[in-house]
Amino acid sequence: MNSEEQENRLPRRRVLQWFAAVAAAEGLSIPTTLAQAPKPAAEGYGYDPVLNKTYERGEVWPLTFTEAEKKAAVALADVIFPADELGPAASEVRVADFIDEWVSAPYPRQQNDRKAIIPGLKKLDEECQKHFQKNFADASVEQKQAACDEMAKGNHFFNVFTSIAAGAYYSDPKCWRALGYVGNMPIGGSFPGPPEEVLKQAGVEQTVE
């Protein structure tokens, strides 16, 4: 039985056990976490950053993902936000770079998220190695989905990753359509208000002329 067949016959209970281990990774003691994920020494952007310019990810503080972390993050973000009729894949809008910028930021909220993300990505690869003999990024679609099926049942790393990825994904104008955001467009004259079909569906009437 080759490993591919083995994967496909994976009892769901065992997968659950593996990815429970990913969840537990966040509970690693602080020194271990830090040893695996050096704390970014960078400063924040301060109280008076230039606002009306385009920032590149990594411009304000260095990105800190290792190659392996980045590969795992790119692959995981693409399973959570795949290309489909609603919009592009996460990799097309560089969600992993956003997550890298996020966990590399010197602020408390982001540092806290880093404690979940860095060990979580490592554990994800370790579990995949153990059972698929591949890193997560190199696993088959079915294997990746099996992993996500389990993690989606309740896994702190997966929840944190999904939350940051959602912030990243929908912040890109290419993904606004997927959400239904159609603003940030100048309109001349008076504000048109919601269209008739919206009012009808919501069961309300316009009260301002």
Partner: protein, 596 residues
């Protein structure tokens, strides 16, 4: 905004104005157009609203997608510069280590101050709001009535441009016909709350905000504002003509490069500057007011933050409009720390904020709506003015004053954070997760209570005897206390929000740790810090008279919110401006008599 170095300052000005926000901006505007020579001191840097405002930038363009950080507390694109809950080099302290007894002090260090990022909600105090003590025996009456201030509310609204409607509701004044700009149409969330609030007797109407919904008619307005002053008319008409109407994109908190909304830097300072009567010194951190042997204010001592040197400027009158907390600090630090204008002992007392309590509701009828542009005027379109005056009067309520409800849009631009609460993603990934995001986006409505706090003995600020700022100046130490009136109000608001959401077929998402009375925001968090040098009719019981003049030093005026004797639920900014304009008119009259 053009500024001068101290070396270019005149030897004496008619008026030295400390602060460049709503109060300082209004004073500079009114006084310079009348021909008085003014010097404005701003503690922060100069700011070019046209060149610096991030219009149309998206989350893609910003670090962390633009989400909030300790450096930019309201998100990357918020207009605030060198400010927030903490300001570098300028600490403040708390008398208590309990969160509910602390005051969070928002400051901005920039030209225009907090007006650059504020919500632009421009409500008039009503007649009751000037006489609260007479109505219910709590707090203090103002020495003026609504009728005294009404003409100035009208002037301010004409100048800054305010949209809204006249609804004829109790203690919610109408503006004279033709003054308000047309309100924008209701957004779907507004109309939902309006429809279902009605069932509960909660009126929901267009709010008043300082945003132009059509171009300003400078030709008509300038002569109305400045009769018998052709030069002022010309300058103001030109300034009004250079402002554009709102183009229904980009939130007002970023500031507005097309000058469609009011900020001191778009409406007050440009015409003041055009008179040639205004000098501005930036990075001027004021330590004290200089008082002469004759007991009159002679000028101001400040630290030039660019050199660290102490500098002095002279004025025939001095206006403090530095924010309530900062004005109190300057008064208490003056006379080498003995304090001035404080014969009543009330400087720093009776600081108030607004009762804040909010809730997010989820409405199934708003799920999966067709995509549509909900950006609107970059802030609230509708609100609910306080509606239970009669019940309060009849003694049926367990709190004495009112609150209004502010309703937010439902489909704002995603900026760094998940556009829907992440619990809707539970168990999902892939296309199903994206479908859930699409379904729920737009189905959440945020409502916020903004209510009156009654002044109390436990909410005040004093100088810290140990801690100083970078320049060795003693800092403010805060004391805070809510009374049952405020806590019961927060509970009432929570119950009301829950009931409205349920009436709309949805439900409120309540944080289990923050419900009922616990749902009140912390002191200072609504950033409506007022009081600290209240005005009154009796010099023993107040710091200022009805003309914003301190009782002890008549040529020292306080023109921010520090003279507020109460803090009605109406947002303070328009009242700050109306009071300042009135005080400025009085000052001009005195100057004409040679009696500055």
């Amino acid at each position: 905004m053009p500024t001068i170095p101290i070396s270019k300052a005149q030897s004496e000005y008619d008026v030295v104005i400390v602060g460049s926000g709503a109060g300082g901006g209004q004073m500079a505007y009114t006084l310079t157009l009348a021909g008085l020579k003014c010097l404005m001191l701003e503690a922060g840097r100069s700011y070019d609203v046209v060149a610096e405002t991030p219009m149309f930038q998206t989350g893609k363009d910003a670090p962390l997608g633009g989400s909030s950080t300790p450096d930019k507390n309201f998100g990357f694109y918020d207009a605030t510069i060198d400010g927030g809950w903490q300001v570098p080099d300028e600490p403040y302290t708390q008398a208590s280590d309990k969160a509910e007894e602390q005051f969070r002090w928002w400051r901005a260090r920039m030209m225009g101050g907090r007006t650059n990022h504020w919500g632009r909600i421009s409500l008039r105090n009503g007649p009751y709001d000037f006489k609260p003590y007479s109505r219910d025996g709590l707090g203090f009456d103002w020495p003026i009535s609504y009728d005294d201030l009404e003409p100035y509310y009208t002037k301010v609204e004409k100048l800054i441009g305010v949209y809204g409607t006249n609804e004829g509701l109790e203690n919610t004044p109408d503006s004279p016909k033709g003054v308000l700009q047309p309100p924008p149409k209701g957004r779907v969330g507004d109309l939902m709350i309006q429809k279902h609030g009605k069932k509960l007797g909660v009126p929901v109407v267009p709010i008043h905000r300082a945003v132009l919904t059509k171009p300003q008619d400078g030709k008509k307005l300038a002569p109305e504002l400045h009769p018998d002053n052709p030069e002022a008319q010309k300058i103001v008409e030109e300034s009004m003509s250079s402002r554009a109407a709102c183009f229904w994109a980009t939130d007002c908190g970023r500031g507005c490069s097309i000058r469609a909304n009011y900020q001191s830097t778009t409406v007050h300072i440009p015409p003041a500057d055009a008179t040639g009567n205004l000098d501005i010194i930036a990075n001027a951190h004021v330590r004290e007011v200089i008082v002469g042997k004759d007991g009159k204010a002679k000028g101001v001592l400040f630290i030039d933050k660019t050199t660290g040197e102490e500098e002095r400027v002279k004025g025939k009158a001095v206006v403090l409009a530095a924010s309530s907390g900062e004005t109190v600090r300057i008064l208490l630090n003056s006379a080498s720390g003995d304090g001035i204008a404080n014969s009543s002992g009330l400087v720093g007392k009776y600081i108030m904020d607004t009762v804040g309590s909010d809730m997010l509701g989820q409405i199934p009828a708003l799920e999966n709506l067709p995509a549509h542009n909900d950006d609107g005027a970059g802030g609230c379109h509708f609100y609910s003015p306080w509606w239970l005056y009669k019940e309060q009067k009849a003694g049926k309520m367990d709190f004495a004053r009112g609150y209004h409800i502010e309703i937010s849009g439902t489909r704002s631009m995603p900026k760094g954070n998940s556009p829907v609460p992440t619990h809707v993603f539970k168990g999902l990934y892939g296309t199903r997760l994206k479908e859930a995001a699409r379904r729920y986006y737009g189905s959440f409505i945020h409502v916020a209570c903004r209510g009156e706090m009654i002044p109390n003995e436990g909410s005040f600020a004093e100088l810290d005897s140990e801690v100083t700022d970078k320049w060795g100046i003693p800092v403010m130490k805060w004391h805070w206390e809510w009374s049952d009136h405020e806590l019961n109000m927060a509970k009432h608001a929570q119950d009301t929000f829950g009931a409205i959401f349920e009436a709309a077929g949805g439900k409120g998402l309540i944080n289990p740790n923050r419900k009922g009375k616990k749902a009140i925001l912390r002191g200072g968090e609504v950033i409506h810090e007022v009081g600290g040098a209240i005005m009154g009719a009796d010099s023993k019981k107040s710091v200022c008279n009805e003309w914003n003049q301190t009782w002890d030093i008549k040529n020292l005026l306080l023109c921010d919110a520090s003279p507020f004797a109460s803090n009605s639920d109406k947002n303070p900014t328009e009242t700050i401006m109306a009071l300042a304009w009135r005080a400025a008119d009085r000052l001009i009259e005195q100057a004409r008599k040679g009696d500055l």
